[in-house]
Amino acid sequence: MKEISCKLLVIGAGPGGYVCAIRAGQLGVDTVIVEAGKPGGTCLNVGCIPSKALIHAAEEFDKVSHMEGGKSPLGISLTAPTLDLAKTIAWKDGIVSRLNSGVAGLLKKAGVKTVHGWASFRDGKTVAVETETGVQVIRAETIVIATGSAPVELPFLPFGGPVISSTAALALGAVPEKIAVVGGGYIGLELGMAFAKMGAKVTVVEALPRVLAQYDAELTRPVVKRLAALGVEVMLGAKAKGLSTKGDALLVETSDGKSVKVPADKILVTVGRKPVTEGWGLEQIDLDRAGKFIRIDDQCRTSMRGIFAIGDVTGEPMLAHRAMAQGEMVAEIVAGHKRNWDKRSIPAVCFTDPELVTAGLSPEEAKALGGEIKIGMFPFAANGRAMTKLGEDGFVRVVARADNHLVLGIQAVGQGVSELSAAFGLALEMGARLEDIAGTIHAHPTQGEGFQEAALKALGHALHI
């Protein structure tokens, strides 16, 4: 096949890669993107988007289930609803496929050439792509590695049979009766809660003393409460040991050292994600590593000239929006603009019930800086809109410097608070002080008012609490 030469080659069309390619195309850079699967990467195909579709369906089902027999305080009554998960999955697949073609269209519109196949480095300027029609060699001045990440597999619980990864969990044909979730991180809890709402008996096995360990206990308390209400059994300090011989249960060593069998039709392993650093010829170019990730500088440059890396392959936090921002930045650097990574915050959202949002520093992280801090917390129990949504659990919390009131971090837990991440991120990027947030009119009645009130609280004069 005839060699292709281009200015920029992007390996991987996940959120980092495709954004990088689109932006480069917009800037007139001759760009080629290589993707073995469908465009959109983990996020669009087997991550953010499909999981949110499933979570939404589960939530709707749970809501209407509670209206059965006139039990709802809303006064709505209906007969027992049913869920056809196959149909749900088909609906979710429809969304994914619409977005797949959307991304493909955007790449095309930006003048980016897409090559379908598996890319491997030959050297720092040359990549060979195994396509359906043969090997395509691509020479590029600049190459961006955006190979992403994959679920971590446990050696004693290899994926297959009843043991599934998050990817397979999003493609089940029916709701399993009993699911054991190994790993009480955000992915495990998001999916575990969704399956619980759809009627599964869910057991979460977490090795650490608490779930969602990357968040502080105050923030996760409403989620823990909700897990109990949904009947999810949470085994803390417990270790998954393997599959029972019959394959119908998970062997678990509990915190007090006992061995128990957790009956399960499906065992969902969500113990984290690892960068995809194998299978594409990294050994040919021998880039410096930072742990298991590829080491990058503040312009996403790797140790080899002309090679950038973005997204999950470069480290934590492994979030789509971080990859997108990196991709955009790299495209602009390749187009000759002066850019470097100068973001103040990468907000993180956890779509459990209730949802969690964090942006910037937690109270502990802020305290660790050594300065005096102020914390303002406003509970949704005092927020009118939250009451009208039956969502009084949770709060907004603002962390600021005590000396100049510069906001360092914002967290929230509550129904639908993921949408507040926009306001939180903006406040941090703009360098807002408590007074800036307190002095901004927040529309009433919204949950966003909780943000303003939390800032007021930190200033010592909250109005509604």
Binding site: H337, K338, R339, N340, D342, R401, N404, H405, L406, E429, M430, G431, R433, E435, D436
Partner: protein, 463 residues
């Protein structure tokens, strides 16, 4: 709520009373601790009285112009808590001891006269003279008054608009704070935001800061460790410094100076001085002679020929007060500022007495124990910067005197003796005269007379 009584503190120098010259507050004002309440003036110094507590002014104990005894109540404040008034005003004396009366700083205690290289003169004005010399920069005068904009007691109030010098716009390790749009603009313009001071809240860098940074032009020194410093610190001119400024303006704006520089061969004088210092007489304690007593005696001799040089010129009245007594002010730098101690009646002191008096006064001035009398009443002034004296100076006359003699640095210079260059100890005298009353000719005659006396020092001792 209690009442707190502020009494006129001891402003030093064994002064028993002081004239109230200024109220900075009025009844009903809220004051903070360290807010300047009033200024009082002794015959030597103006001292600002700060409030020792927060409170509301209830009563002011004197009118401007009143003479107030030290220890008299001057202000009553309503304060939170008990205050220092236990029962009624009769118990004042009892509680006085515990009253945290503000005391002027050690400098304030000295209340030293202002002086300078040019020899601002310690006036002999009475306590009623509002131009009396202000006291040292008492710590009490340093407190910025948050409740009164531009309060006179502001002291040095750094009100720089720029947060900090551009060399270090923020504490080490702290990231520059700017919105994404500002960051992008800085990046495109090649500006390192760490170099940019932010004028916004919490030191936030705005577009205007970027513009200001750009307007300063290319950073020539960037990367070399050198950085521009565009900070402007506003320092309020108060106390001694203000007094010096006033005196200097007065002298330079009123007096048309003529400055005359002549070089003196002090080789013989130095030999004589060394010999005199070497000579020891059993039982007689003598100070080590410096050059000053010789110059003072030479001046006495020269003034005997030209008494009009030893005058105070009252230009408003059109009268020259020609003094018989020759009171020589010696401008000297002390740790607390410039002072001009005065050697009184130099005409009646021999070289040893002059020397001893200079030593005594210098020490008194340095330790802050010089009395008002010792710091005022000069009729002519000597200014010397010693080893820093340089080649020539243009001394500023100590108004209302008519002459000032400036001593420059002595150094060995080659002098042509007619056949060869020989090393001689040479020293310049840079002297200024009030040209309104002293003609250039007279000035030259005066300095030439001193030159003759110093170059042939035996003449100083011959009547």
């Amino acid at each position: 709520m209690g009442e707190h009584i502020i009494k006129l503190p001891d402003v030093g120098e064994g002064v028993a009373e002081a004239e109230l010259v200024e109220w900075h507050v009025k009844i009903g004002d809220m004051v903070r601790e360290d807010t300047v309440l009033a200024a009082v003036m002794t015959d030597k110094a103006t001292v600002e009285i700060p409030s020792p507590v927060d409170g509301e002014i209830l009563w002011l104990g004197a009118e401007i112009g009143d003479t107030v005894a030290i220890g008299s109540p001057i202000v009553r404040l309503k304060v939170a808590g008990e205050g220092n008034v236990v029962a009624d005003t009769k118990s004042l004396e009892a509680t006085a001891a515990s009253t945290p009366t503000p005391s002027p700083s050690p400098q304030g205690g000295g209340g030293r006269a202002t002086a300078s290289k040019g020899g601002a003169k310690p006036t002999s004005s009475s306590s009623a003279n509002p131009k009396g010399i202000e006291g040292g920069e008492a710590a009490a005068t340093e407190s910025p008054s948050p409740l009164w904009g531009g309060a006179r007691g502001g002291g040095t109030a750094p009100t720089s608009q720029v947060a900090a010098p551009s060399g270090a716009p923020r504490p080490e390790g702290e990231k520059p704070l700017a919105s994404p749009a500002v960051r992008l603009r800085a990046k495109e313009a090649g500006i390192d935001l760490r170099q940019v001071a932010g004028s916004g809240p919490a030191g936030r860098i705005g577009h205007e800061d970027i513009e200001a940074f750009l307007a300063r032009g290319p950073q020539v020194a960037r990367g070399s460790g050198l950085a521009r410093n565009d900070a402007i610190q506003d320092i309020k001119v108060v106390g001694l410094r203000r007094k010096i400024a006033e005196k200097m303006s007065l002298s330079k704006s009123r007096i048309p100076h003529i400055t005359y520089v002549e070089e003196i061969d002090v080789t013989a004088l130095e030999e004589l001085r060394a010999a005199l210092n070497k000579e020891k007489r059993p039982g007689v304690e003598r100070p080590k002679l410096t050059l000053l007593p010789f110059l003072m005696r030479a001046m006495v001799k020269a003034i005997a020929d030209q008494p009009n040089l030893n005058s105070l010129f009252d230009d408003e009245a059109g009268i020259i007060h020609q003094h018989g007594g020759i009171h020589i002010g010696i401008a000297a730098q002390t740790p607390s500022g410039l002072v001009v101690p005065v050697v009184k009646h130099a005409e009646a002191r021999d070289i040893w007495e002059c020397g001893a008096e200079v030593v005594r006064l210098a020490e008194a001035a340095k330790s802050g124990t010089a009395t008002r009398d010792e710091l005022s009443g000069s009729t002519i002034t000597i200014t010397s910067l010693g080893a820093m004296g340089g080649v020539a100076t243009t001394p500023v006359i100590n108004h209302p005197e008519v002459a000032i003699i400036g001593v420059n640095k002595m150094m060995v210079r080659p002098v042509w003796d007619g056949t060869q260059f020989i090393p001689r100890k040479m020293m310049n005298l840079s002297s200024s005269f009030d040209h309104r009353v002293i003609d250039g000719w007279d000035a030259a005659v005066f300095i030439q007379r001193i030159k003759t006396l110093l170059e042939t020092p035996a003449l100083i001792f011959v009547d």
